[in-house]
Amino acid sequence: MLALILFYVFATFLVAGALGVITARNPVYSALFLVFSFINSAAIWLLMEAEFLAIVLVLVYVGAVMVLFLFVVMMLDINLAELRRGFTRFAWLGWLTALAVIAEVIGVVWRHGLGSLDVSGGFAGEPAHYSNTLALGKVLYTRYVYPFELAAVLLVVALVAAIALTLRHRPGLKSQDVSRQVAVRAGDRLRIVKGPAEKRS
């Protein structure tokens, strides 16, 4: 019963947060609403005993991706009037897409029939010492090891490409070479000169 109440609370927050993302006028608020939605969906996953997915969602999306998003959004000087210019002209396209997605969802549910989607009983609970992370790790590194490695290679390629595309060498730039600065020794900079003491006149 408590789980059901919690589910509805988090689900309401999640939908409200998601609505906030697309209705907020300030892009920083949009990003924060997205963070809020992520946290609520993580909470729903926790209710389903999928603690690995829940925590990784928070760790990756809330902790890293959205921080960088906020970073960019806060630095941008966004001209809202410029952005809104095409809004009414292309609104019909947006409505069409939205209707198509809704039609697809209804179609899938219709096809499988509402009767087969039994959500009242939930799913079988796992024993207390069951570790979600362990189970996931075992499957990922045995049965799905090739797809997993392929995904990893794909991500590395994307990473290298992103860096290579933005890396620009401008000639004649006066930047500091930190390695040389760190490697410097006092002996290179400072020469101690011994001189005879002056005689008192």
């Binding site: 603690e51 690995f52 925590i55 990784v56 902790g63 921080v67 970073f71 806060m74 930190v178």
Partner: protein, 359 residues
Amino acid sequence: MHTQINHLLALWGQLPELLRTLIWILIITIGVILCVAFLTLWERKVIGWMQLRRGPNRVRILGMMPGLGQPFADVFKLLSKEVIVPSGSNKFLFGLAPALALIPALAAWAVIPLSPALVVSKANAGLLYLLALSSMGVYGIILAGWAANSKYAFLGAMRSAAQMVAYEIAMGFALVGVLMASGSMNLGAIVRHQEGGLFAWNWLWLFPMLVVYFISGVAETNRAPFDVAEGESEIVAGFHVEYSGIAFALFFLAEYANMILISALTAVLFFGGWLSPVAGYPLIGHTFLGDPSFFWLGLKIFVFLFLFLWFRATFPRYRYDQIMRLGWKALIPVTLVWIGVEMVMAVVHIGPWARPWFH
């Protein structure tokens, strides 16, 4: 007297679990906040002694121990000051930011095992939970910098965000090393797998990870020598420049609670948590000194906290590009190499991998 204690314990057992957990949360939170209060005093005293000063020595408690009342005097002073909300600031986020900085710092204590029996949550994914929470602490700082509508605050927030994202990666890899050596993400299990005295703890076989973890921890808490986020000579006080009174105190509280947390985690992950360093040794190992207890954990936390203060008193501040270079080009490669070394050690079964739990 004895029967009364038994009576109380029986009563405690009868309470519903939710209530018992709530009481534990309250006790631990208040304990952490009290520790923060005295840590600020200890910091000023230690730095004072290192710089041949006395530190705070005016406010007394019960007419004794000069300086001991200083934290309470500070708290009352900050409580009675006005909280100024700058014009043009975003009022809602401005108020929310200190809370967002403090909540993760306190929530992380839920999975820290204080003694063999004492932990609020024996979560299976405790290590992941800690990583997720420590990555959320940055929101308080970013929002504080942005909502204050001040250039200095914004610069400080941007510096701090980039720094925390960078050092989180090194920290995560160091935790992967601990995970490999313990075979569990439950912090209690991590401590139990280190049983067997000083040289069975993780620090010996994971020494590079320990160094990386602690340096990243200092950087994550924005403490000297990584405190460019509030570098007072360049950007006044960084992200909290517009905060005053008790709102400022909340940021302060969050920073010091994070310091205690990092120290506790270093003790738990690398120095056997509540385990005694002399356990299993002849003679003293069989006395009360060899027993695992909360006091060993407390002692270890105290030592690492002292390191934080020592760093602050003795190291000059890093330059910003050097911080980034250290994080990305020194700490992350070190952890990656050591994960490789750990793989080899696991294959040939030495160190922690020679223990019975590792098949």
